[in-house]
């Protein structure tokens, strides 16, 4: 009994050489790595090829969170199906929601498609707080990057200048890239997407998302919905279908048979979601190349 209690008392003693930052998605992990540099070890729970809506509350995630010095989540209901259970199981009170060491990125951006009233589950997997996929817009990643920098400074003030310099470098690189990407807006591109994952990206680059393949968020496409969609795509002269790579492209291919010449682009929407996408800049470049070309 005595030995057991001594053992329990030891588990609160945690000695890490570096700050341990856990993010829920690889996009947040990539951003955190830019800001934190070498002072911090950053790991993502969700892999780039996984849909973060549907992660399972694996005990191995609980184990990772039990050692975390900072948790960065997306928020806006994206992780509601699994993250609360993992936080609860981690027995790490520092990272509970509302605590300083749990940064909810959606608190720092203005969310699109917010529907705080008149919603029910009959409308599918709706997010009343708003669309949680804001990291796909470069300008939004600057806002989140600033929030991460501020939070790291609060936790680890001795490296304040490193975090501030890293953030400035990241921000300037995005702003430089934005000049190169500016011309996309003039193209007046029209697309149809599987899910509303790219709403922020589309808004940033003036791309019109005419419709989505899902009749409602999280609900697989039905035959009647697809018939209506084909009619609309022809009428609007849509040339591309964008399928996020964790969704099934079968329906897009069916539409392609009905509208010859239409292009299907299967795109990653997260860092490490594809072999050539190792960080946020790779991801933005990839999306610009495939959707904005």
């Amino acid at each position: 009994m005595i030995k057991l209690l001594i053992l329990v008392s030891l588990i609160s003693f945690k000695a890490h050489a570096k700050l341990q930052v856990i993010t829920t998605t690889t996009n947040l992990a990539s951003l955190a790595k830019y800001i934190a540099g070498d002072h911090v070890e950053v790991k993502s729970l969700c892999l780039g090829v996984q849909d973060p809506h549907f992660l399972e509350a694996k005990p191995s995630y609980i184990f990772k969170l039990s050692k975390a010095d900072l948790l960065i989540s997306v928020g806006a209901g994206l992780e509601v199906g699994w993250l609360p259970l993992i936080i609860q199981g981690s027995r790490n009170p520092k990272i509970r929601e509302g605590q300083m060491r749990h940064l909810v990125a959606s608190d720092f951006v203005e969310l699109l498609e917010a529907r705080p009233v008149d919603i029910s589950r009959s409308q599918g997997d709706v997010h009343p707080e708003g669309n949680p996929h804001f990291m796909l817009a470069p300008s939004q990643s600057i806002k989140v990057g600033k929030a991460i920098m501020d939070r790291l400074v609060l936790i680890d003030v001795k490296n304040q200048s490193t975090y501030e310099n890293n953030f400035l470098t990241f921000k300037n690189q995005i702003l430089e890239k934005a000049k190169l990407w500016k011309h996309i807006k003039d193209k007046k591109i029209k697309v149809v997407s599987y899910h509303k994952t790219l709403s922020y990206f589309y808004e940033e680059f003036g791309i019109q998302n005419v419709d989505v393949l899902e009749p409602k968020p999280g609900i697989p496409p039905s035959a009647s919905h697809i018939i209506g969609l084909i009619h609309r795509m022809k009428k609007e002269n849509v040339k591309k279908i964008i399928v996020e790579n964790y969704f099934d492209e079968t329906v897009a291919k069916r539409i392609q048979r009905e509208i010859p010449g239409i292009i299907i682009e299967i795109v990653p929407v997260a860092v490490e979601g594809s072999k050539s996408v190792d960080d946020l800049f790779d991801l933005y470049n990839y999306l610009i190349k495939k959707i904005g070309a």
Partner: protein
């Protein structure tokens, strides 16, 4: 005395973090999250026809919320059909259809602000084994299996008490749970206010790859009550071990997945009731389309049993259709062969729905 001193020492070592939320408040967050599960059933049995036809198998109403900066509370209220009392019929009472009983399945408070350990107090389902703490709506099959029913009874082993759970320092997920519970379960104890049942569980989980996990748990229950006045000495001991593989590919993980789970439990009672029996349950679940899965299970009760104990084999197949994470339709066929009763064959169709704020299920 020594354990008390060490508990005080332990608590003083933890950094209690109960700071006020420093970020924006989201309006109605003070209300408890309320979720409701309802299970509707159609059943046809060859032998025991008491539950045949359409019925409401149960309703589970869940409330959970932070109590304050230190505690979280969970209450689960179950509404289930009353079990028929034979003496009512003998007394000639007229029946007016099935009645329902309402009872708290769980009502507990647990700590949220202590680093490294969770203390829990109240009424809760014991963590013994892999499936005892799983509510009926989340059980892998429509009914609890014959081994679970034999070991813990229809409602499982839930009682009032306290527990502590914590991680063992290691490179993988390794968690110990220790419970001290009031002995309130007729399948396990002669009810007493003069003794306590103790449960210990070790749960380990390894990520064999990003797609595959291995979970292994061992559990033990010990209960002893000394003889007093005219009451005999009572004792119950249970040991259990469970092994579960779960596979879900990282890509296309919404379309296919698989689980293979096996649990062994051995129970020995001495005193007013003398029994010694063990059982094993093993099932495979395979998801072959985004909304479809099939399951197969075999159970054997009677491992190392004493002479007069029950022995049975139960085989089950199930096909499930899950339109969304909030509804499921499951068709199940069971065959139970027992040394005590006639062979039972039963077909069941269940519609299981979840409304409101339904918390995530444990892995």
């Amino acid at each position: 005395m020594k354990p008390i001193i060490f508990v005080i020492l332990l608590l003083s070592h933890f950094s209690v973090q109960a700071q006020t939320s420093m970020f924006k408040n989201k309006g109605n967050q003070f209300n408890p999250a309320i979720g409701l599960n309802a299970m509707m059933l159609m059943q046809d049995s060859q032998v025991d026809s008491e539950g045949d036809g359409f019925s409401l198998q149960g309703v589970e109403l869940q409330f959970n919320s932070d109590v304050d900066a230190y505690f979280r509370a969970q209450i689960v209220v179950g509404i289930h059909p009353e079990e028929h009392e034979d003496e009512h019929e003998e007394e000639g009472e007229e029946e007016h259809g099935p009645g329902y009983e309402v009872h708290p399945e769980e009502a507990y408070v647990e700590t949220t602000s202590i680093d490294g350990v969770t203390f829990k107090a109240g009424k809760f389902l014991s963590q013994f084994g892999k499936y005892n703490a799983v509510h009926l709506h989340a059980q892998p099959f429509i009914y609890k299996g014959v081994v679970q029913e034999y070991m813990f009874g229809h409602e499982g082993f839930g009682s009032v008490g306290v527990s502590a759970s914590f991680f063992i320092p290691s490179n993988w997920f390794s968690e110990i749970t220790i419970e001290a519970l009031q002995p309130q379960n007729e399948e396990l104890f002669e009810e007493s206010h003069h003794a306590t049942a103790y449960v210990a569980k070790l749960k380990n989980l390894w990520d064999l790859s990003h797609s595959l996990t291995l979970e292994w748990g061992i559990s033990g229950l010990d209960y002893k009550r000394k003889a007093y006045n005219d009451n005999k000495e009572e004792s119950t001991s249970l040991v259990g071990s469970d092994l579960t593989f779960k596979w879900r590919p990282t890509k296309d993980g919404k379309s296919s997945s698989a689980i293979w789970s096996t649990e062994y439990i051995k129970k020995k009672r001495d005193g007013t009731v003398e029994s010694d029996n063990g059982g094993i349950t093993s099932f495979i679940r395979y998801q072959f389309k985004p909304r479809w899965f099939g399951q197969i299970q075999h159970e054997y009760l009677g491992i190392n049993k004493s002479k007069d104990e029950e022995s049975s084999h139960a085989s089950t197949v199930l096909m499930g259709f899950v339109p969304s994470e909030f509804s499921a339709i499951r068709l199940q066929y069971d065959i139970v062969k027992s040394n005590e009763d006639e062979d039972e064959k039963r077909v069941s169709l269940q519609f299981n729905v979840s409304i409101g704020a339904h918390p995530a299920h444990t892995y």
